[in-house]
Structures are given as structure tokens and as C-alpha cells.
Symmetry: C2
Subunit: 217 residues, 2 copies
């Protein structure tokens, strides 16, 4: 194989990588712009033209990346899933208690939708008004519960989480707590999300932690 | 006053009562029909004409009772509030434990939206797509928390609910638990709501009950 041939081969291998990277960047830009607009104006009030304009990409570009406006929000569920993966890494590393790992995760999961009540309501809208999006997000959330179950199993082995609960049920309780808090918050005119999340985590932890000297029944 | 005059007076007094009763009946009929159609076909897919037809009332009647389709769902929040009031009566009567009263209440609150996933999603839609409805329902839910706080205070006095929680926070935890469960359930393709509610109540109660011999910190 000549050097020229090899260089050409390498160029071919690099090119698709670069294209994919650029594609991922544009998708991320569209996602960011959409989230900002949904947070400011709401989901129904935002058009795909406004999204492409805010993202500074061609007007027809949007549908090369997302089949519908609702689909932008599946990106968020992927990002949420990555946060659960990061929490598992933290849990495996073992430098922090399970309480710290799960407490941090709850705040991190609420961070993005918690940017505004309008944004949380937009997320709910996407789930409701599109069967396809609901299926995608539902699937990602189910994967999230699987990974969280692994965290819980680890916590049970370490004696930090009560072992009379199935790990998947604890994972479900975690999701239910965050979603319930976000929805209640998005419905109200006032109320500080951070304070609410603290109360939510305290209650969640009270129901799943293993008591040290007096194991619960 | 002649007998005739008295009879006429009585008739006048009865007449408005009868009109109001009939009005309430028609409103209830429209509500029932709407809930059935929302549960079967979804909120967006149901027209007001279909609702009046199913309720067997005049086609133009709908808007004499509700300003918009979304407003039908405010009736549900009123009914939910009545269930909380009934629970307070049960709690005051003192024939059942707090655990039983709140357990029954959680199932009763979930009963109506739990008729179908499509119905739960319809409820969420009404909350999201109408500021007016969200305000009305949010207000009724806040009243519900007030009444529930009274139940919790009673439970604390009786030593059944831990007293290191503010009653309003326990009420908030209750609502968050039910809403979170319903939303998670409405998003999934499978999963038995009754079983999920049992797990939800168990977790809720684990976080708020007062432990008998070893008071929690």
C-alpha cells in the first residue's frame, strides 16, 4: 500500500467522523435553541422557524434532525439518561455515600426542566401530544430505571439502602418523586423548586434508607 | 296573606331550586360524557359536539356550562376536593387509623383519572394548554392541601404521623406521590396502576408515619 493511498484511506476515515461531529453539533445547537425558546415562550408558541433562526442554521434544516417539534425533547431524555450513567459511575467509585450520589442525581435530573415552569409544561406537552415521543422517552426512562436499579443493588450490598425493597421499585420511586415534584411546581404560580426538591429527597430517602441500629421492618 | 298567594310564593321559591338542580344534573351529564370520551379517544380527539351528543343534550348547550373544553376537567378537581373533605370527616370520626384513612384517600383520588391512560393524559393536557384551567385546578389543589394538613395535624396529635414534618409538607408529599404515579403510569405501555399505588402508598407512609417504639429523628 503506497503512502498516498494510505493518506487517502485515512482521509476517508476521518471525513465521516468530521461530518458526524458537525451533525451532532448542529443537533445540539437546535436542541439548545429550542429549549431556550420553549422555556421563554412555551411549546405551542414556538415555531421551528424560530428555532432554526435562534440556532443560526438554515431554515429547512430542522427536519433533517428531528421529525417533529416534539422530537427535540427526546434529546433531553437522552441527556437525563447520561446523568444516571454518571451517577452509577460515582456509586461504583465509592467515594461518596449513596445518599450523596442519589441526592446529587435528583438535583441534576431536575436542573434542565427546572429552568422554567413553561419548559416543564412543554416537556409534558410533548409526552402527551405525540405517541412516538412518549414511546421514545418512556423507553429511555425504563433504561434509566435499569441503571438506577444497579445503583440501588450496590447501596443494598453496602448496607445503605434497605433490602426489603426491590431495586426496580426504588428506581421507580425516585422517578415518581422527581416527576411529581416538577409537575406540582409547574402548576403553581409560586414555590421554590430547590426547596421542594430538598423536601422530596428527604422523604424519598426516609422511605428507602436502611436504618443503622434499628433495621426497619 | 291568602293561601293562593302563599302557594305562589312557595312555587317561586321552589322553581329556582328546581332550575338549579336541573342545571347541576346537566353539568354532571356533560362531565360524565366528556370523561368517558376523553378516556376512550383522548382529549384532542374529542369535540364538544360529541360530548353534547353523548350526554343527550342540545348541541349548543355545552358553552352554557363550560367556557372551554378544558374547563370540564375543573369539575374533576372539585370532586377530588370533596374526597379530601370526606377523608377529613373519617379522620375526625376516629373509627379508622390515619394509615387506613390516607390509604383509602390515595386510591379514591386515583380512581377517576385511573380509568384510562388516555384520560390521565387528557387531564395533563388541560392543565398545560389552558392558563385559566391550570389556575382553577391549582387553586383547588391548594385548598385540598389545606384540608389534608388538618388531617395530618390530627394524625400528629394521635401519635400516628411523625411530628418533625410540617403538615403542609406531608400534604404536598401526598399530592406529589399520586400525581407522579399517575403520570409515570400514563406514560408507560404496561404496568398495573393498583399495584403501583400500593407501592407508592407504602413509600409515602414509610416516610411520614411515626415509629412506635423507636421514634425517628
Amino acid at each position: 500500500m503506497s503512502i498516498n493511498h494510505r493518506v487517502a484511506e485515512q482521509a476517508k476515515q476521518i471525513a465521516p467522523g468530521r461530518r458526524e461531529r458537525r451533525r451532532a453539533e448542529t443537533r445540539e445547537k437546535l436542541y439548545r435553541a429550542a429549549m431556550r425558546l420553549f422555556a421563554e415562550h412555551g411549546f405551542f408558541e414556538t415555531t421551528t422557524e424560530e428555532i432554526t433562526e435562534a440556532a443560526d442554521v438554515g431554515q429547512g434544516t430542522f427536519f433533517n434532525y428531528f421529525p417533529t417539534k416534539q422530537h427535540v425533547l427526546t434529546v433531553l431524555s437522552e441527556k437525563q439518561f447520561e446523568k444516571v450513567m454518571a451517577a452509577r459511575e460515582e456509586a461504583v467509585a465509592g467515594n461518596a455515600s449513596m445518599e450523596e450520589v442519589l441526592h446529587r442525581l435528583m438535583h441534576r435530573i431536575a436542573e434542565e426542566p427546572g429552568r422554567s415552569r413553561a419548559l416543564t409544561r412543554s416537556l409534558m406537552t410533548a409526552l402527551i401530544s405525540s405517541d412516538a415521543v412518549r414511546e421514545l422517552v418512556g423507553c429511555t426512562m425504563a433504561r434509566g430505571r435499569e441503571v438506577m436499579s444497579e445503583i440501588v443493588t450496590l447501596g443494598q450490598k453496602r448496607g445503605e439502602i434497605r433490602d426489603d425493597r426491590r431495586p426496580i421499585e426504588v428506581a421507580m420511586a425516585f422517578q415518581r418523586s422527581v416527576i411529581g415534584t416538577l409537575l406540582l411546581w409547574a402548576m403553581q404560580v409560586e414555590g421554590d423548586l430547590q426547596a421542594w426538591l430538598e423536601a422530596t429527597f428527604r422523604d424519598f430517602w426516609a422511605s428507602v434508607h436502611r436504618e443503622r441500629d434499628a433495621p426497619s421492618t
